[in-house]
Symmetry: C4
Subunit: 229 residues, 4 copies
C-alpha cells in the first residue's frame, strides 16, 4: 500500500543525514495520505542507512499499525495529533538538530530577524509552553502534539511550518515529506543565524513590511521567485 508515499518518506528520512540534521537515530519523518487517512512513518531506532521503503510503517489516525513488521517511531502519537489538527500538512519532520534544539532548551521562540526566515516563516518560530507533569506522565507523545497545536493557535500552519518544543527540540512540517524536510533545514539555518545575531545585539526586530514582502515574494498570490511551474 501507498508505495510512493513510503518511498518519499524513506528518502526524506535519509535526507536528514545529508543535511546534517541528525546524530544516530535522533529524528524521524512521516508522510500523510488524506484519502486513506494513513501515516507512513520511520520505524523506531533503525539507522537511516539501513532504511528501505519496505521498512516504513503505515499507521492509522488512532495509532494502529496497518502495515509493516517494525514498530513505528515512538513519536508517532505527536505526528498523528498534528495531521489531525493541521489540514493541508502532508509531511512532518522531527529532529534534535543542534541550533534549533539550543533555542528549545532555552525555552525561547526564534524571532524573525531577517529575510532568510521571512522567506519561509510568516513571523517568529514559536516555542511551546512546558508540558505539565500530568501531560508527561499520561500520553507524553500525544500531549507533545497538544502543546504544539496550542502554540500554533491563531497561526496558519502553512505559513508557520515549524516550531520548537520547550526543553525538547524542533518539529517542522509541509505539503509533502520533502517539503517538511526543506523547512526543517531552514529552521536549523535561521536558528543558527539568529543565535549569532543575538550575541551581537540584544534587539533584532524586522519591520513587518519586510516580513510581508519577503514571505509574499515566495508564497503569495503574486509570488515571483523561481521559475513558473
Amino acid at each position: 500500500m501507498l508505495e510512493q508515499l513510503k518511498q518519499e518518506v524513506c528518502k526524506a528520512n535519509q535526507g536528514l543525514v545529508d543535511h546534517d540534521l541528525v546524530t544516530f537515530t535522533w529524528g524521524n519523518v512521516s508522510g500523510f495520505d488524506p484519502e486513506t487517512e494513513l501515516l507512513a512513518i520511520k520505524p523506531s531506532g533503525v539507522p537511516y542507512e539501513e532504511l528501505s521503503p519496505a521498512d516504513i510503517v503505515l499507521v492509522d489516525l488512532k495509532g494502529n499499525v496497518v502495515e509493516g513488521d517494525l514498530k513505528p517511531s515512538s513519536d508517532t502519537p505527536t505526528h498523528i495529533e498534528l495531521y489531525k489538527a493541521f489540514p493541508g500538512v502532508r509531511g512532518i519532520v522531527h529532529t534534535h538538530s543542534d541550533w534549533g534544539t539550543a533555542w528549545a532548551q532555552a525555552g525561547k521562540s526564534i524571532p524573525c530577524s531577517g529575510t532568510t526566515q521571512a522567506d519561509y516563516f510568516y513571523g517568529d518560530i514559536p516555542c511551546t509552553r512546558q508540558l505539565t507533569k500530568e501531560e508527561v506522565q499520561n500520553g507524553y507523545e500525544k500531549e507533545t502534539g497538544t502543546v504544539i497545536i496550542e502554540a500554533m493557535q491563531g497561526k496558519n500552519p502553512v505559513e508557520v511550518p515549524g516550531i520548537v518544543v520547550h526543553g525538547h527540540a524542533p518539529f517542522a512540517w509541509g505539503g509533502s515529506p520533502e517539503d517538511a524536510l526543506h523547512n526543517a533545514v531552514v529552521l536549523e539555518k535561521v536558528a543558527k543565524m539568529t543565535f549569532l545575531s543575538y550575541q551581537l545585539s540584544g534587539e533584532l526586530p524586522l519591520d513587518d513590511y519586510v516580513l510581508q514582502k519577503h514571505y509574499e515574494r515566495k508564497h503569495g498570490e503574486n509570488a515571483y521567485y523561481g521559475q513558473s511551474k
Copy 2:
C-alpha cells in the same frame, strides 16, 4: 552571446557551493559586459548542480531579458543598480552565508579588526540603513540597490568590495564574477573571525596605519604580495 561571460558566471555560481556560502538556492552571481551593457545572471530558483552556461540569462540595464529561456534571479534589479553606480565592477555576488547574515540581522557594520579584512577591504564592511515601507512596497529589489549605493557614498567600491544589507544578507562585488566570489568568501570569513573577537573583547580597533599597510601591500601601486603578473 557573451559565451565566456556566461561560463564565468555559471562557474562562480557553482563556486558558492564549493565555498559553503549557500543553502538550497539562496544566492546568485552575475557578471557584467561593459561593451554591450548586458548582465549575465543566474536564473531564479535553479539548483547550482543543474546549472549550465546555457541557463544563464542575459539582461539589459533596464531589466529586459535579452537572451535565455528562464526567468532571471529575482534580485536582478539590485544587481543592475550596482553595475550602474559602480564603474569598474564586473561581477556581483549575493548570498545568505551564516556569519555575514548574522551581522546583517544585527544591523551592524563589520569593524575592520585585523589584517585579514585589511588585506581586502580598506576599512569596515558597512551595513546599510533599513529600507522604508515605501521602498519595500515599491520596487523592493531596486531599492535594495539604492540603500547599498547610499551606504557606499564616499567610499570606492573597488576598495570596499562588499556590504551587509540591514535585516537581509551580504552582497560582494569585484572586477570579475570570480573576483566577486573571492570577496564574498573573505566577507564570510572575517564576519566569523570578528564575531568571535567581539565576544572576547568589546573593543576591536585596528590602527589606521596597519590597515593602510596591509591594504597597500596587496593592492597599492607598490604591492608586493604574490607573483608579478
Copy 3:
C-alpha cells in the same frame, strides 16, 4: 587472547575519528573482560588509522602488561580505577572533544537542559573537583580515576555514563566499547547544545518529570523506544 574484545576496542578507537571526537592521538578507548579481569586498551601515541587489533594491549587490574608489544595508553591507570569501581562497565572512552573540554576547562557540570541529554543521562553530567597538588604529583592518572569516582558517589554509573574532569576533558563509559563510544558522542553533542542554550538564557532547568520520562522511555523496565530485541 580476547581476540573479539581487541577487535571491538580497535574499532571503537577508530570510531573516535569517524565521530570527529579526536585530533591527532588525543583519545583512547578500552574494553574490559570480567572473567579474566583484563583490560584491552589502545597503545599510547599510535595514530588511529595505523591501529590493528594486534596492537591493542592487554593489561591486568594492577597495571601489568599481559600481552602486547607496545606501551598501553598513559591514561591506563584511570581506566583501571573506573573498572574497579563501576561494576557492569565494560568500555571506557577518553577524548579531548571540543565542546566537552570547554565545559571541563570552565569547571562546570553540564546541566540536564533537554530531552537529548535525558535520553542517555539521568541528570547532569558532573564535573569533578580539581586534583590537589599531591594527587597530581603522585600517581596523577590513578588519582584522575579517584576524583571521577568521588564525583559519581551516589550516582549509578549505568545511568550517568560520563563526566568531565576539571581542567582536563571528558570520560564516558558503557556496557561495551561501542556503547561507551556512543555515550561519548552524546556527551559531546549535548555539551554543544547546552553551551548554545546557555548563551541564550542563564536559566536552563528541565523539570524532573520530563527527565524521568525520557530516561525511562529508553532505559526503564517499560522502555518503548527502538525495536524489541
Copy 4:
C-alpha cells in the same frame, strides 16, 4: 639544494589545507637548515594544490633568494627574524586560522586553561603588543618578527611554540616543518576550546602543578607518553 627540506616544506604547506587552517593562500610554512643557514619557504600567492617541492624558494638570512624562480612569501622577513632569535627552531608556520585569529584580533593571550594546551605549551600562548606606526611603515614584516621575539623574552621557544600577533594572526614553530604544523593545529584547537570555556566562565585558571605535570608527561626528561623511539 636541500631537496629533502624542500619536500618537507612543500608537504607541510599542503598540510595547512588538510588541517583546515587556511583559506585561499592565507598561510605559509618554512623550514631552516642550520648548516647552510638557508630557509626553504613557500612562494607568495601560489595555491597549495599547485605547489611542488621545486617551487619552494631558498633564501639566506639576509633575505636574498639563493634558489628558485618565484618570489618567496611576503612574510619571509618575519621567518628570518625568528630563526635568528630562536635556536633549535627548524620550522615556522603562519596562518589566519579562525579561532587563533579571533584571539589575535581581540589582542588577548590564550590563557592555559586545560591539559590540552599544557601538553604542548608550557603556559599561556602570548599575544604580542601592537606594532608602532614607525614599525609598520619601515620594515613591517621584519618588525613583526621583532614584536614576537619581544613577547617571547624570558620564555623558551621550544616550550612555548606559538604566539598570536596583535591585530593579525598566529605564528607557530617547532623542531621541523611538520612539528611546526602540529603546533599550529594545537594552537587553533585550544584557541577554540578556550574561547568556548571563556563564554561559560570568566575565570579559567589551571593550577601550575597540573600544567607542569602535563607538559613534562610529554616533554620532560621522564616523559612517558607515546612509544619509546
